[in-house]
């Protein structure tokens, strides 16, 4: 009876070479029998036979998990006869790592001569199987296949003289697959194609495992997790049968599962094929082995796991995984074509990263500030994925900053924290429907990469939840940056798209109007309405009053104040609501059109006309050819000196027709009307001195002003 606790692992890449001492100890007891000691419970042993080759010997590993460094001897037996012995003293890093004993040498190798000796036993023993056991115990090592009989061994030896190597390892192919997984995939793909030509039928007794969960990564790799019977290969060609047949290549790694019977093991791995599982599907079969006689079957219900769940699962099982392709699978999870978030945790090397600020302009890209700590690998490139859009980093914009605030969290990394912070610009358009699931990819100089999920809350949209001036913390000299012209165009486009919302609340026609933009300060809004009523009711001339207000938190007050004013009947009154009061200038033609005004005076939000200003506004001509009049603004705080010679579009009077022509050609000024100066081809315009004043210093919108300044050098009047 064969005892096998674990189907065992394969020799990993770290221990690819056979021991330098392939011969081992070739000894037998005098009478061929071995005394069996009961000192160590059989359950404490783990072992596996990887390779049986007449020319290479019999190789594998065994470990006493209760005492991994305990030196053991193995016996090659035929029935109860010990044919040969050897020491367990060869390095097997994969096994040692798996069992947490880095200094152990659990590998062994029976020399080819030991196999030859077994094959030379008499014909009476021809039908007897060989076995390998731990000396002094009843523990027998297992392997993927049944060990050969004496007669079979003799035949192998005969064939070996022809050069054929027989491997009992999990790669069931007679020839050993390349270490490189890409090359191995190519070989197996060919075999899978051939397998797909066959008629495949799932016979229940041939079910060798179950797929319990599936996840598909953005690169199209299907990841599976479940269980399978021990003794099967862990990389093989296959055919996925899911309404149709898909040739596939499967790479698996195994891990212990306490819920499984002894003859089964947990499995996790990748299925490379054109197959894409659909949620809710059951009865998907993965046929493998010779002729496709075995199959894995999807469990019912089949769980579709997210990428995050996939990574969490792998992180849990990673310490106990074994199999030739374990490292390769780990790398696949963090491969450059995979955007599964959180791969930094499973990269196998230390890397931490975090994004703290992300300012997005959909038509341009995203400005990102964060930090990355990579003690081992040098950061070469950054990429950002938002939704399905991948934005490359503009290398000219990427720079690093010291992050001494990380010193306490990462002591002994001062050299790293000195340049752990990064600022980068990621270029590309991101439609609003794609603004989900942001992931930062860090690419390293050696070609590997890791993915780091971003908290969606760090993304703010410029001009909406973030101001343009917030960018100055990223790029204080933004106007000198290479991306600035393209960025400016995108800002103007964004601003232009916000101009269009105009909501009339009440409209009364008047041939001449004073258009007053309502400030967002509550007290100033009260003052504006009070002053307007006072001036108009006490004046001889009575133009209509048009109020333009933002659709903000003062709306109720504005409506109440407007209602009180309109009820007086002192003059015609209109009220419009807009989304952004700063772009009222661009909506003026539409507003004046609805009011059917031939001429107007416009006063931007935050301005109050002086006595002189009101005099001019009340007495301006109502004519289709009304001349341009610029109202000088007293800037009492002198924060931003007004332009004494030309005035600005913040406060001016004109004819509606001339305004419409001018606005039609006006570029989009991001900083509002202050950046624009009305210009009449026929005349310079009349400047009315000290006609208006501000209730508050003008907010310095630095970036917007710089954008407009660049525009001004190109603007067309």
């Amino acid at each position: 009876m064969r005892h096998s606790n674990i189907s065992g692992g394969q020799r990993g890449p770290a221990a690819a070479a056979v021991s330098d001492d392939p011969h081992g100890t070739d000894a037998t007891t005098p009478n061929g029998t071995a005394s069996i000691a009961a000192s160590t419970p059989v359950a404490d042993y783990r072992g596996y036979i990887d390779l049986l080759d007449p020319g290479l010997g019999l190789q594998g590993w065994v470990v006493n998990i209760a005492d991994p460094t305990n030196r053991m001897r193995l016996e090659l037996t035929v029935d109860s006869t010990v044919v040969a012995e050897c020491n367990v003293d060869q390095p097997r890093d994969d096994v040692a790592r798996r069992y947490g004993c880095p200094h152990a040498t659990p590998g062994f190798c029976f020399a080819p001569s030991a196999l030859a000796k077994a094959g030379e036993l008499g014909a009476a023993d021809g039908a007897k199987q060989i076995a390998v056991r731990v000396a002094g115990t009843r523990f027998l090592l297992s392997c993927a296949r049944e060990l050969p009989t004496v007669a079979e061994l003799a035949a192998l030896a005969e064939r070996d003289r022809g050069g054929e190597v027989v491997s009992l390892a999990a790669d069931a192919a007679p020839t050993r697959l390349p270490q490189d997984i890409t090359a191995a995939t190519q070989i197996l793909r060919g075999r899978a194609a051939a397998l797909a030509e066959l008629a495949l039928r799932p016979i229940s007794e041939n079910q060798r495992g179950a797929i319990e969960a599936i996840s598909v990564d953005p690169a199209g790799t299907v990841w599976i997790a479940g269980w399978m019977y021990k003794g099967h290969p862990l990389e093989f060609p296959a055919v996925v049968s899911d309404r149709q047949k898909f040739p596939a290549v499967v790479f698996l790694t195994c891990h212990e599962r306490a819920d499984l019977p002894d003859d089964r093991v947990g499995m996790f791995g990748a299925v490379k094929s054109e197959w894409r599982p659909a949620a809710g599907r059951s009865d998907v079969f993965v046929f493998f082995d010779e002729g496709g006689r075995f199959h894995l079957r999807t469990a019912n219900p089949l769980r579709m796991a997210t990428g995050e769940e996939l990574l969490e699962f792998f992180e849990r099982i990673k310490p106990s995984c074994y199999g030739r392709r374990t490292i390769a699978l780990q790398r696949m999870l963090a491969a450059s074509h995979s955007w599964l978030p959180g791969t930094g945790r499973v990269a196998g090397f230390p890397v931490e990263a975090w994004v703290e600020h992300a300012l997005l302009l959909p038509a341009f890209g995203c400005f990102v500030e964060g930090w990355v700590l990579s003690p081992v690998k040098r950061v070469a490139q950054l990429l950002l994925r938002i939704g399905s859009i991948v934005l490359p980093c503009d290398p000219a914009s990427l720079y690093f900053r010291p992050r001494s605030d990380l010193d306490s969290t990462y002591p002994n990394h001062c050299a790293l924290t000195r340049h752990a912070g990064f600022v980068a610009t990621f270029l590309g358009s991101v439609p609003s429907e794609e603004l989900i699931d942001p992931v930062l990819k860090i690419a390293f100089a050696d070609g590997t990469s890791t993915n780091h999920p971003m908290d969606p809350k760090v993304i703010r949209r410029l001009g909406h939840s973030a101001t343009l001036d917030d960018l100055l913390t990223f790029y204080p000299s933004i106007q000198a940056e290479r991306f600035f012209p393209v960025f400016s165009d995108a800002v103007r486009e964004e601003t232009r798209s916000a101009v269009g919302q105009l909501s009339p609340f009440a409209v009364e026609r008047a041939p001449r109007v004073v258009v007053l933009a309502v400030p967002d300060d509550r007290s100033d809004a009260f003052l504006l309405f009070d002053e307007a009523e006072r001036r108009v009711s006490h004046g001889e001339a009575r133009p209509g009053l048009v109020f333009v207000a933002a659709r903000g938190n003062l709306r109720s007050e504005v409506v109440a104040l407007f209602d009180g004013l309109a009820a007086t009947g002192v003059t015609s009154c209109s009220l419009f609501f807009v989304d952004d009061i700063d772009v009222t200038l661009y909506l003026l033609p539409a507003i004046l059109g609805m009011a059917e005004a031939r001429s107007f005076v416009y006063v931007a939000a935050g301005l109050f006309l002086t006595e002189v200003g009101w005099g001019a506004a009340l007495n301006a001509r109502a004519a289709t050819d009304a001349p341009l009049e610029l109202y000088e603004i007293e800037d009492r705080a002198r924060d931003l000196p007004s332009c004494p010679e030309f005035g600005s579009a913040e406060c001016f009077g004109w004819s509606t027709r001339a305004l419409a022509r001018w606005v039609a050609e006006l570029p989009m000024f991001v900083n509002g009307a202050a950046s624009a100066v009305p210009w009449d081809r026929r005349s310079k315009g009349n400047l009315i001195r000290t006609a208006a004043r501000r209730s508050r210093p003008r907010m310095a919108r630095v970036v917007a002003a710089r954008i407009d300044r660049q525009q001004a050098s190109e603007r067309v009047f």
Binding site: S523, D524, F526, L527, D530, A560, G569, A637, R696
Partner: protein
């Protein structure tokens, strides 16, 4: 000066007069509304045709108790008022205007523009048929900090307003906004026929701020009830001298100075047996920490007691049970009613030696001054006051307190001159030095058009208004 009824010009008694107040005494018992109501009652007692119009917030509507058919309340929503420029929505003015025109009111005396808004003042002023007088009870036009002329963060006395200093107290408003505010107030005040101040101190401050002195008349507030027995309270041997505090216990009223003085007194056993401090009033705007501190001090010191809130009508009786009344305010004060009540009760006053308090209480004559906010100096003065001879001298120096009738007589004298378009000259007892009285008609020229006639307004009145 007592002006007999025969000497009054008939105009003041014939013309309907409206006294407006930012609140009704049944809802709020502040000095301004009590003074306004006292004047109203005094006018009625003189036979004047007077009505009383109060603004009442909608959330206090249920406490409103109008005393007669001549009293009106305009209920307003706090939503429709701006407390920086003091502007109200038009609705409140429409209702006020309807009342004024329904009564053919010839003169309106605003005791405060709060809640009505200075735009309502302007609208009244622009109605050429109505004379307008504004009684000033604090410095609200000058100081955005509750009109106290006390800095916001440091609670320091402010001697003069400027846009820059005001903006530093209120950084949420700009210097330009404070300039606009001042201009708005001065523009509006420029078309008002006359101003009344209960104290020379307040009048001087407004004059320094920009109000023409010739517009200002000083008329002391009258007390609704003045009959008191000024005799010394009955004392037994060994009784302490009782110094009583009366009023709302707000952060401005200086009760914290009293508590600090109590700690100093406690360290001197002799003083602790001679001096008693009794605090009357309710807590307004005080922190839980302060209330706990006062409670603990009362428990710790036998000479310190807290008598709780009190009815205004009982103030005189309660004061009679004290020897002195203490007014330890930390702000300038204007003409504290409590000082008049103390005088009416025959009690000298110990007060901070600043502002309106120093004006109403003559040091060493009708009371004693101490350095504002200095508990050591307060203790020194209390110690000095605990002396029979001094007490008797101070009692003899107490001035006679005007009642509502006398207050009304003084006001009617002013109203007469305005109604007759005569220059304002001041009663002999309350002269504001400097300047000659301009013609009221000249100020009217600033308002170029008449206000819309009442018939244009057509607004329904609030059902709480009594019929008229």
């Amino acid at each position: 000066m007592v002006t007999s009824r025969k000497s009054l010009r008939p105009a003041a008694l014939e013309a309907p007069i409206a006294i407006t107040s930012h609140s009704h005494p049944s809802v709020s018992k502040g000095g301004a509304e009590i003074a306004a109501y006292t004047l109203f009652k005094g006018l009625l007692s003189l036979g004047a045709d007077a009505i009383f119009v109060a603004a009442c917030p909608s959330n206090s509507h249920n406490r409103l108790d109008l005393g007669s058919q001549r009293e009106y309340a305009i209920v307003y929503e706090p939503f429709g008022y701006d407390h920086f420029y003091h502007l109200a929505t038009r609705r409140l003015w429409q209702e006020l205007s309807a009342i004024l025109h329904a009564h053919n009111v010839a003169l309106v005396n605003f005791h405060h523009y709060l809640h009505f808004g200075i735009n309502s003042l302007r609208r009244v002023a622009c109605d050429q048929t109505i004379k307008l007088v504004v009684s000033l009870h604090e410095f609200l036009a000058i100081c955005h900090h509750h009109g106290q002329m006390v800095t916001r963060s440091g609670q320091l006395l402010c001697k003069a307003a400027s846009p820059a200093s005001c903006a530093s107290c209120f950084p949420e408003h700009s210097t330009q906004q404070f300039k606009l505010r001042r201009e708005l107030f001065l523009d509006t005040f420029g078309i008002i026929d006359g101003f009344v101040s209960p104290s020379r101190f307040l009048a001087d401050r407004y004059a320094e701020w920009g109000l023409p002195r010739e517009c200002l008349t000083v008329i002391e507030n009258g007390l609704a009830q003045t009959a008191r027995d000024p005799a010394r309270r009955a004392q037994s041997a060994g009784d302490r001298w009782v110094f009583g505090y009366f009023g709302q216990i707000t952060p401005f009223k200086g009760v914290d100075t009293l508590l600090q003085a109590a700690e100093i007194i406690a360290r001197s056993p002799d003083l602790a047996t001679r001096i008693g401090i009794r605090i009357h009033g309710n807590f307004v705007g005080q922190s839980e920490e302060f209330i706990a501190r006062l409670t603990a001090a009362v428990e710790r010191h036998p000479f310190l007691s807290y008598a709780g809130p009190y009815e205004n009508a009982l103030a005189g009786d309660l004061m009679s049970e004290c020897d002195y009344v203490v007014v330890p305010s930390r702000w300038w004060e204007n003409s504290p009613v409590v000082i008049q009540e103390a005088f009416a009760a025959g009690r000298p006053v110990v007060c901070s030696g600043i502002g309106g308090m120093a004006e109403k209480v003559t040091d060493g004559v009708s009371g004693l001054h101490y350095r504002m906010g200095d508990p050591d100096d307060l203790v020194r003065v209390l110690t000095r006051a605990a002396d029979d001879a001094l007490f008797t001298k101070l009692q003899q120096g107490l001035p006679k307190v005007a009642d509502g009738r006398r207050m009304a007589e003084a006001y009617l004298s002013l109203f007469d001159r305005l109604l007759e378009d005569l220059p304002i000259t001041e009663p002999q007892t309350a002269a504001v030095p400097g300047g000659s009285a301009p013609s009221a008609a000249r100020r009217r020229t600033q308002c170029q058009r008449r206000a819309p006639a009442c018939a244009d307004l057509g607004e329904a009145l609030h059902p709480d208004h009594k019929s008229y």
